[in-house]
């Protein structure tokens, strides 16, 4: 990156660069930690949203509970452990984030690639559909869908995917449009390779970079949107633990019992910020890879 210019200053620039490289690892570590918590945490910390322990309600962080355990992050208005809610909420968030992004990605990439590669009338119709849907506020559509049916995990995934795929489609279409003009695609076409095979083998692999970067950012948005829907009470059913619900449960107690809303809020923000930085780094790396 800094090829020639960096050589004479090698001695002075090395430590900051090393530090920068270390710093740039932090998002990986944090996101990795969340994934680990989401995967293994629920196995280690037991939590039952139905069970309430009223004598333990509103305990501050670090208090001892009536069963002899320690509520490291305090308890909520019904005596349920906040730490356990954060851990189990992480699994819900990751699960919903991953499945929504996977569905959006699948639908978006297929439609985008077809539109970009085939061009002509198909592209004109599809691209206009993308534009129209993009003009519609995503969260509003999600609220309408989530509010109209009975609450469930599947419904939240569908509601968030309903608009999530459009960005994937637009990015894929852009990439496909430029790749289809490349010489190797022409060569394949001249050799008589069927269109579907060209799309799958010579065009789609090149969309991987931007799509991964986009998927990361989309993941952060989905997690945030899910928390938002659950906060409003139209997201997940009460039997599923969710950060949004925990935050909503604590909003009556913001002043005296700050920990109920604040701690899951911090957990949510940390994940969003780190996934965002990670996505930005991936975008930057992909761009560098392409220009080199």
């Amino acid at each position: 990156m800094a090829g020639i210019a960096a050589v004479p200053e090698k001695v002075t620039t090395a430590p900051p660069r090393k530090r920068r490289r270390l710093l740039s690892r932090i998002p990986y570590l944090v996101v990795g930690f969340y994934l680990l918590v989401a995967l293994l945490g629920p196995l280690l910390i037991d939590y039952d949203p139905v069970h309430t322990s009223l004598e333990d309600r509103l305990l501050p962080p670090g208090s001892e509970t009536s069963t002899g355990g320690t509520a490291w992050f305090g308890t909520d208005g019904l005596g349920r452990d906040v730490l356990a809610q954060i851990v189990h909420g992480a699994r819900t968030s990751v699960l919903i984030g991953v499945s929504t992004v996977a569905i959006s990605c699948l639908v978006g990439v297929v439609l985008g690639a077809v539109a970009g590669y085939v061009r002509g009338g198909v592209d004109a119709v599809l691209a206009r559909i993308f534009d129209i849907l993009l003009a519609f506020p995503a969260i509003l559509l999600a609220i309408v869908i989530a509010g109209a049916f009975e609450r469930s995990v599947l419904l939240v995934v569908v509601a968030l995917s309903a608009t999530g795929w459009i960005t994937f489609a637009r990015v894929t279409r852009g990439v496909a449009l430029s790749i289809r003009e490349r010489p190797w695609v022409d060569a394949a076409r001249v050799l008589g390779v069927p269109g579907r095979a060209i799309l799958a083998r010579h065009v789609l692999p090149f969309t991987a970079g931007p799509i991964v970067a986009l998927a990361t950012l989309e993941f952060a948005l989905v997690v945030l949107a899910e928390a938002g829907l659950s906060f409003l009470g139209i997201g997940l059913p009460p039997s599923t633990v969710s950060w949004g619900q925990t935050i909503a449960n604590g909003k009556e107690y913001l002043e005296p019992q700050w920990w109920i809303s604040t701690l899951p809020g911090i957990a949510l923000s940390l994940l969003i910020i780190n996934v965002g930085i990670l996505g930005d780094q991936l975008t930057a790396r992909y761009r560098r890879g392409r220009t080199d």
Binding site: V50, H51, T52, L54, E55, R57, L58, G77, L78, T167, V171, G174, P210, A213, L214, L217, A220, L221, L224, G233, P238, K251, E252, Y253, L254, E255, P256, S261, G265, S269, I272, I273, G276, G279, D280, T283, A284, Y286, R287, R290, T291
Partner: protein, 514 residues
Amino acid sequence: MTKTREYGRSRLLRLAATATATAALLAACSTTSGDDDNGGGTGGSGDVTAAGTYPIESLDPHGAQGASTGTQLAGQEIFSRLVKPDPDGTLKGDLATSWKPNGDVTAWTFTLRDGVRFSDGSPLDADDVLASFQRMISLNGPNAGNFTGSTMKRTSATEVVLSSPAPDASVPGKLGTFYVVPSDVGKDDTAFFNDPVGSGPFTVDGFTPGESLVLVPNKEYRGEKPAPSRVTVRNIPELSARMTALRTGEVDIVWGIPDDQLASLEREKDLTVRTVPSSAEFTMWFNSSTPALKDAKVRRAIWQAVDFKTIISELYPETGKPADAPVTGVVLGHVPQPPVAHDAAAAKAALTDAGFDYSKKLRLQFANAEFRPFIQAVVSDLRKIGVLAEPLEKEQATFTEDLIALKWDINFQQLATPSYDAASNLGRLYTCEANRNGYCNKELDGLLAAAGATADKEERTGLYGRASAIIWRDAVGMYPMSVSIAYAWNNDLKGFVPDASGLPDFAGVRKGGS
């Protein structure tokens, strides 16, 4: 490619913007105590601002919203009634100066006050009372349900007679929700209710449904002129925002305050906090028509399985008291019953003996988010003995529809008796004919009918006591808690009287400090 990059950046920007907005929102929700300037909504002296628990959606007291708390609150300030309950529940004359039943209590004669005028100056007489009654019946709103089959007759300009098909001693109490509007108001006269003409202490200066109602004194009011020069009833749905508004002086009176907020309000030296026992009771009917709950032993065992005493002392230490009858102590017809003690082991044994199917989920329906913690605590207790209950929080309209259709196994309601008479609670809801909870008992029907047929208070109380004993013994429902309403108001308000139904009157309130 640059496109992708910019794209990524704009996403990040959006993320940041969302985060900032969320933070701003949270900050707006959090309370800022200590600030005690009397700024905000209230302007000059004599302006009183109140924020109640429920929104005022309509001013039509005869319509579909007629029984809602918001409409009742507005109705009692704008219109007059024949009789009205005092803050403690005793009845006194409003438009009527006296009322008396005939021998078999099937007809009540009301003598009207002379010289009453509407706020537009036109006189109010028996014709208006009669037309209002007919309007209420023909609109068939919730208040009309109290008078099925009843007819009103005008005997003179100052006398009406209300006849009911069966003996009914609770007619005066039930009339507490009957408001008189001018006789020329049509069935669907929405224009009239945007700027209604009434004979209550106040008239409407401005009304935005669901948001605010501004009242000014009615110049034609027959009684003492209302003290405040303007009363604004605002709807602040978010609890923390309501509490902040009270602390900053933006509103003067707030009621329906949850227990967890009371402690911090009591510490504020500028506020007066009071709780008053109300006619409302947590009522959890069992659907006796569900096969699983047909057996009274099963219903009783489920009641026994829930540790209501602990739940009440933890969740409602100040506004809750274990109930001792299907109606609360302020209601005529209240007779204490033996308490149902919590005993999980006995409950489990009784359920197993009765062959209860533990694999079946019971649908527990309720309507307001404020009751969610209570419901969750009950569900948790039931689960401890293996009974599965699924809490179903429904929109008010869906809830009511399902309630009538008996699409539930356990139904939770905070059931108030605004007439302060067991007739409109026990007498109306527990008969075989009403079929509100699938329970049918001819003996109970007989007792309730007999209690409705006599005007003698003592005799009625005795009969309702015997009816209560049957309801209690057969566990038609669980009756865990009688509710008090918590009020808080600024110390510089004088003459405010907390009302037992959550419908305070603002006519006597004056701002002392200014």
